[in-house]
């Protein structure tokens, strides 16, 4: 596609001819001819490093934009749909989620609610319980069940005032079916593990595009009104310059948000996510979990005996200071504790958890979110922000604006490419691509560490490294083909 724009490139190089000795037929500066950062033959003043880096960065930004753009566009569009999912969920599943408020004295014991849920999912195994957090909320009782996909649950929604089940849905963690469907669409396009590569590809390249675009825009030469032109879009005029202004200014304003989305998206990607997880673990920044091991001396607890029941467990958690939305998980094995964890995702601090002895009802361990390693806190906040959970509606609006901005930038990027197409040539043709050989402007002492850095980065972010490797190989092959074609012309 874009690589095929070689005819236009060749034509342009021909137009330049021999006068542009510095740009040569490869479209690149010859080393040491005055356009590179090294000393020139005339010993005159040299342009800075940026002048040499810029063409290479332009080429990277162009090709990454053209080739990765569709993936980013799909991620942004599906992400935009996802931002509205909490409201859709509240409308579509209002019967399952809500009940008329009544006096707290009318609340049915939690154990009875769980039993009702169990009856509604006959072959299910209890996974966790999320007691009604507000006066109009239902209690969610989650079960693993035969035929339910991995990661999903059968969830019974129980009226806490009557103990009757209002509905059973297949959920994905906290997500009800519509949100789970949109979530999966955003993450995998419903293509399973293979589909995760699309979102990882988008996340792996988004930050490259954002940082590269920022550098190109802020490093652009401007004769007057430099600040205004950099931060405000061009309102008048038409054509490529106006599109560029809107593309770049929008990118400038949303750059921090997009970088955040890229970073958090990578943390739960398939390949890069595993590397980041290992890296976090090495830095002791992994997400901790409360110990469910019962302390020594709880002999009766280890060997069995009557359980105090879920109501006592939740009461113990409340006494320990936990509030809001709670996830109550039964012991995973005999001799281990219940865990109760705060799960109020719209408030960054409400993530404490406790372990409760099933035989005595006493709290045996407590893990405060305040005691999490900083990296774990940042990861949690970042992920919650990416999912539109942090601070509720404000987060959703911010995400929607980011998605709209990204879609606009991508469309404008393609429009700029379209506007660069040759209009006088016969037949269809793609827009002009930045010239090949831009790397020749840079000395080895700059290229070598850059190549090493990119190789290391490409290893840890495989869907950055592999596409880049494929592109470089293709580019080399195209270069060889061009050379051959030029040789034919010379021979004629």
């Amino acid at each position: 596609m874009a690589l095929g724009d070689t005819a236009a490139e060749t034509a342009r190089h021909k137009e330049r001819g021999t006068a542009a000795a510095a740009d040569g037929p490869g479209g690149a500066a010859r080393p040491g001819t005055g356009t590179g950062p090294g000393p020139g033959p005339d010993g005159g003043a040299q342009p800075g490093l940026w002048a040499a880096v810029r063409p290479l960065m332009m080429r990277l930004h162009f090709y990454a934009g053209v080739l990765i753009g569709p993936f980013l566009l799909v991620a942004a569009a599906t992400g935009l749909l996802y931002t509205a999912s909490p409201q859709i969920e509240q409308i579509v599943y209002r019967h399952e989620l809500h009940v008329p408020a009544q006096s707290p004295s009318h609340l049915v014991p939690l154990a009875r609610q769980v039993a009702a849920g169990k009856a509604a999912v006959p072959h299910g195994t209890l996974q966790s319980v999320s007691p009604a957090a507000g006066p109009t909320d239902t209690t969610r009782v989650l079960f693993s069940a035969p035929g339910v996909p991995d990661g999903y649950s059968r969830t019974a929604f129980v009226d806490p005032y009557t103990g009757k089940v209002r509905g059973v849905l297949t959920t994905y963690g906290q997500w009800l079916p519509v949100r789970a469907w949109l979530d999966t669409l955003h993450r995998t396009l419903h293509l399973g593990t293979f589909g995760r590569n699309y979102s990882e590809l988008a996340a792996s390249w988004l930050w490259v595009e954002v940082l590269g675009g920022l550098a190109l825009w802020l490093g652009a030469r401007r004769r007057r009104d430099r600040l205004r032109q950099a931060v405000l879009p061009r309102l008048r005029g038409a054509g490529r310059r106006r599109a560029l202004s809107w593309h770049a200014v929008a990118g400038l304003w949303v750059s921090l948000g997009l970088l955040g989305l890229s970073a958090t998206g990578l943390t739960w990607s398939d390949h890069a996510g595993a590397n980041i997880s290992a890296f976090r673990a090495q830095l002791k920044g992994g997400t901790p979990s409360v110990s469910t091991t019962l302390p020594a001396g709880h002999g009766a607890s280890r060997t069995g005996g009557p359980s105090v029941g879920i109501d006592t467990v939740v009461a113990a958690a409340h006494r320990a200071g936990l509030s809001g939305v709670l996830d109550v998980t039964p012991p995973s094995a005999p001799g281990t504790a219940w865990t109760v964890q705060e799960n109020t995702r719209h408030w960054p601090e409400r993530q404490d958890s406790v372990a409760v002895d099933p035989r005595t009802g006493k709290v045996t361990a407590k893990l405060r979110f305040a005691d999490y390693p900083l990296l774990a806190k940042l990861t949690r906040w970042g992920i919650d922000a990416h999912m539109g959970l942090l601070f509720g509606l404000a987060n959703q609006i911010a995400l929607a604006l980011l998605a709209i901005s990204l879609i606009t930038m991508i469309v404008l990027g393609y429009r700029m490419w379209w506007l660069r197409r040759p209009t006088r040539s016969v037949g269809g043709s793609f827009g002009r691509a930045p010239a090949r050989g831009a790397w020749r402007r840079l000395p080895g002492r700059v290229l070598a560490p850059a190549a090493l850095f990119i190789a290391v980065l490409g290893y840890y972010l495989p869907l950055l490294g592999l596409p880049l490797l494929v592109f470089l190989a293709t580019d080399l092959a195209v270069g060889a083909l061009l050379r051959r074609r030029a040789a034919v012309e010379v021979a004629r």
Partner: protein
């Protein structure tokens, strides 16, 4: 031994490519006269080093006897200064190369490290541990379970060996960057288009090296497509330096796995 499967394959591919190029260069050293023999020896040694490095990345590589390897590469390390003493100062490199002594030091250092690594590796293996799949789940975050790509054995040196490995690691990273830098600079000398498609005359200069490309008015297709001797030398110089850089950096990765 490299624990990560992916990295193991990457290094194997890298060392295989270096070995292949070294074999090609050993067969066709591109230098006329007596220096060709010395160049062939150098390239053969590099090819063997590539093979040994690739084998070393795999667990089965631990089955290869360490002492013969150490002896062989110690002798190989001695070859490079010996070749200097014997007067073969230009054992390889593109025309205009001004640093044969530096090259010799670099090659000798790499061969020396190759002699040391098989001896140190069993100790590193005993200091390491078996790593699992690296699976790490993120509680309460649907779809965010992560599966590690590593697995297998890991290594860890201790004491003076660890210090030596760290020093060598730093040295090889710097050496690798130096070689890569030279490779890129040599690559910049390679014209992107055939001589006839360029200007009437073109002289390029980098770091004191000069390659002149004579003007060509009309040539046959084959002549135009085939690179001039200077261009061939520039390509060869870039490839050689790139291979040395890749080998040094690959060795740095192996050392990193040991510390």
């Amino acid at each position: 031994v490299i624990a990560s499967h992916g990295l193991r394959w990457i290094l194997t591919a890298l060392f295989a490519a270096v070995t292949l190029l070294s074999v090609v260069r050993a067969v066709r050293p591109g230098i006329p006269g007596p220096p060709a023999a010395a160049a062939r020896i150098t390239h053969v040694l590099h090819a063997l080093m590539g093979v040994a490095m690739a084998v070393m990345a795999w667990p089965r590589g631990m089955d290869v006897p360490a002492v013969p390897q150490a002896v062989f590469f110690a002798l190989a390390a001695a070859w490079f200064p010996a070749s200097l003493v014997l007067g073969e100062r230009r054992t390889e490199g593109a025309p205009g190369e001004q640093h044969p002594r530096a090259h010799v030091v670099s090659h000798a250092l790499m061969m020396g490290a190759m002699a040391w690594m098989p001896l140190a590796m069993p100790e590193a293996m005993s200091g390491g541990h078996s790593s699992g799949s690296g699976a790490a789940a993120m509680p309460d975050m649907p779809g965010m379970s992560m599966s590690g790509s590593g697995g297998g054995m890991s290594m860890q040196l201790r004491g003076a060996d660890r210090t030596a490995a760290v020093v060598l690691l730093v040295v090889f990273v710097l050496l690798g960057l130096w070689w890569l830098s030279r490779a890129f600079d040599a690559g910049r000398l390679v014209p992107a288009a055939p001589a006839g498609a360029r200007g009437p005359a073109e002289a390029v200069a980098v770091g004191g090296s000069v390659a002149s490309v004579a003007p060509v008015a009309a040539r046959s297709l084959d002549e135009a497509a085939v690179r001039s001797p200077d261009e061939v030398a520039a390509v060869r110089g870039a490839l050689d330096a790139g291979c040395h850089g890749a080998m040094a950096l690959g060795m740095a990765v192996m050392l990193l796995a040991m510390v």
